[in-house]
Amino acid sequence: MFTVQAKIKRSLTLLAMSALALTMAYSQRVSAQSKALVIGIAENTTSLDPARAFEPESGIILKGTYDTLVTFPPDNVDKIVPDLATWTISTDGLTYTFTLKDGLTFSSGNPVTANDAVFSFNRMKNIKGNPSFLAATISSVSAPDAKTIVLKLTTPDPAILAKLVYPAFAVTDSAVVKQHGGTDAADADKSDTAGSWLDNNSAGTGPYVLTQWDKHNQTTLVRNTKYKGTTPAFDQVILRDIPQAATQKSSLETGDIDIAYDLTPDQSASVKGNSSLKLFEGAGNTVFFLLMNQDKTIGGPLSDPKVDQAIRLALDYSGVLKLTGGSAVTPASVIPVGFADAFGTDKALTRNLDAAKKLLADAGQSSGFTINLEYPDFTYQGVNIGTTAQKVQADLKDLGITVNLKPADVQVALANYRTGKSAFALWFWGPDFIDPQDYVEFLPDGIVGKRANWTSANSDPAIQKVRDQLNIETDTAKRTALFAQMQTYLQQNGPFAPIVQPGIQIGYRADLKGFAYNAQWIIDPATFSRQ
């Protein structure tokens, strides 16, 4: 044996030993940071300025740092409850009067006044960012005195209170925001410069204060020492950007993170089988559906309502559920199961191939036809859209319809979809605000209705009447009845076939208490504590 070899072997061993020593020194894992709650999440935040933010992750952060006038109960979205204010509604439904609670202060120490709310709302509307559409029905907001806010609408808006829960309507500390370049002037989209300051600091009333947003790395919240409500158990909340679900699960297993936000259905079994972890499984907010173009020159045979109903009856819904896995459910309509006034999954359509074939024959298409199915080729909310499209292709083959798959990159596919040029498409809709009112957009002339070229010109006057009434009706009992009418109608008519509503899976350490899921903010960092 050459001495060269021996020397190499010796230095190799030395190298290996020192490397191991270095890492061993680390592996005393800094354990049970009971003072910090660490959440692993795939970062999707583009802004932490409440007037600009519009993503689920920013929703968690803003829930911890800001408050709104009204809110939902901790674990459901069935009713609106007071947060910073109580309210009354005028009889014509056009004026909402809010009265601020006493003794509220911002994290800066400044008292909360009605002018702060007025400033915040106007700023959000005038910045014309992603969430500004939420203020579309607001004609004016004013503060007759320090504790009263008067909201005037352009038209009765049954969903305005649900919209006000959105962090876009957070009450921000106007003095502090103005100090950093904020403005609520009409040209705020050009003149407001507070965005970058608000990306790294907060000016709210919440139990936490934002101290740092290290983009695509981590976001840190610390306890608001001036908070008037219940002190949260954790002094610090850290959101770590971990884009891969597998990596999130690994970090959860070792305890480096306390909550793994983006777990997928195929990881559920493993998490449930681990005694140091728990899994929350619930229904998500997104509904995947087929769109069938009602314009004959685009949709061809799909413009025939009988063909549309045939397709609705030909889908193998339980098969799609198996494909999606986890806590997915079959929605009874485009309104997600779990929303107020939404039909339960018990009312969902089931496959009836015979009835479908008969309808197809009645439509004169018994020999079938060929159609292209366009869809974005990626996985969203745990649903692999490509695989689901293949399932639709297989299901419709049984009906004699040949479906050609036409996947495209999401940005490219969006163009056709949004301009109403897709004959047959597989897409999804996530709610803009947590209220069934958002789904009126699926009716004729609505945003999604137009994408299927479903307009007043080619739709049933009966459903148009339901739509018009829904747009102004504020009485809760009457709304329930109208939504029931809408959902029943859509199960037999219209250009949409809702396929699946995927579930969400959030893993967390078993020693974490206080987990509560809310469809609006998903999780509230202030509710957690460690046993």
Partner: protein, 339 residues
């Protein structure tokens, strides 16, 4: 031609090269049949013409394309790379934030990959035909053929979750405060600040992604070194050296090994450049906030300023690395100098 003249000429050529890069990436980014508004505005916002108009005006997207390019070039000449649409931060700041992470990772990956590769290559050549040769070649085969994302996931599952010998994803633990940023390289910054806890933690976090990322270059370099050494050892000058009575160790390292190094230098240059362009998969799996992920996000959200900024940055890196490699050749190979 003298070395100095050579370097200057190459550096001067860089400028038209980079301008060409901006033109090509501008054209390519705009040929894609999609619109940044679909990528950046929500489903409701996009139906509101006021919001869309405000967005277009804010990002200069309402100007004709040649005008947009002209504005970009003009800003570029004053050192302004524009503002990223998805991070709403100057692209230069974004690059400053993410490039060091990738530089640190790529450098350690290359160092590890190269040293392991050289070691294994030498061992394989020395013990040619014996067990050590087969083992070294097998390890190199894994590095060459195993998909890097698979290696990453397996490495995490084994060394992080099961054995707990390495810290997890990310550059630092959540609860360790980062040292003040001077270079952006955590190892250097921790040293500057005297933060031993951060240094230990940062090195720990670097080990696994570096090994994974360096596995391909390790595989390549093992093979090249082994082949190069075997080749050198068959040369006449080695027989001469032996017959002069030189010890084996000198024969191996002063003569055979050095001559086998020349192709290795090329490979190092190529792989380092490739790694610097950001290994998206490794960075995603290890939650490493680097250029690869930034570039991926920029391209999927049609963030034109970021796309151009990243293209420029990476082109510059490749040009510089190629220059360094050429200079190294010149220095390492006496035959080039003799001309």
């Amino acid at each position: 031609m003298s070395l100095g003249f050579f370097i200057i000429r190459r550096l001067l050529l860089t400028i038209p090269l980079l301008i060409g890069v901006t033109l090509i990436s501008f054209v390519l980014a705009h040929i894609v049949p999609a619109d940044p508004i679909t990528a950046n505005l929500g489903q409701r916002a996009i139906s509101d013409p006021t919001i869309v108009a405000a967005f277009r005006a804010q990002w200069g997207l309402d100007q004709p394309l040649p005008a947009q390019y002209a504005v970009y070039l003009r800003n570029l000449l004053s050192g302004n790379l524009g503002v990223s649409i998805h991070s709403r931060r100057p692209v230069l700041d974004d690059l400053r934030a993410y490039a060091p992470a990738t530089i640190e990772l790529a450098t350690t990956a290359t160092l590890l990959g190269v040293s392991l590769g050289l070691l294994l290559g030498v061992l394989a050549a020395v013990g040619r035909g014996k067990l050590i040769d087969s083992v070294a070649r097998f390890v190199s085969l894994i590095g060459l053929s195993a998909p890097v994302f698979w290696l990453a996931l397996i490495a995490l599952a084994v060394f992080y979750v099961r054995l707990r010998v390495v810290p997890g994803p990310g550059r630092l633990d959540a609860t360790i405060k980062a040292p003040p940023t001077i270079s952006g390289l955590l190892i250097l910054d921790s040293l500057f600040a005297g933060r031993w806890d951060a240094l230990r933690n940062a090195v720990g976090h670097l080990i696994l992604p570096s090994l994974v990322l360096g596995s391909y270059s390790m595989g390549t370099i093992t093979r090249i070194t082994r082949a190069g050494m075997i080749d050198s050892l068959a040369q006449d000058y080695v027989r001469t050296a032996r017959s002069k009575g030189l010890r084996e160790r000198i024969v191996w390292f002063r003569h055979a090994f050095r001559n086998a190094l020349i192709p290795v230098v090329t490979v190092i240059g190529l792989t380092y450049g490739t790694l610097l362009s950001g290994a998206v998969l490794t960075e995603t799996i290890f939650a490493w906030p680097g250029i690869g992920r930034y570039a991926y996000l920029a391209s999927t959200t049609l963030d034109f300023p970021a796309i151009m900024g990243v293209s420029l940055f990476l082109s510059l890196i490749f040009i510089l690395i190629n220059l360094v490699v050429d200079v190294l050749y010149y220095l390492v190979d006496p035959r080039l100098r003799a001309r």
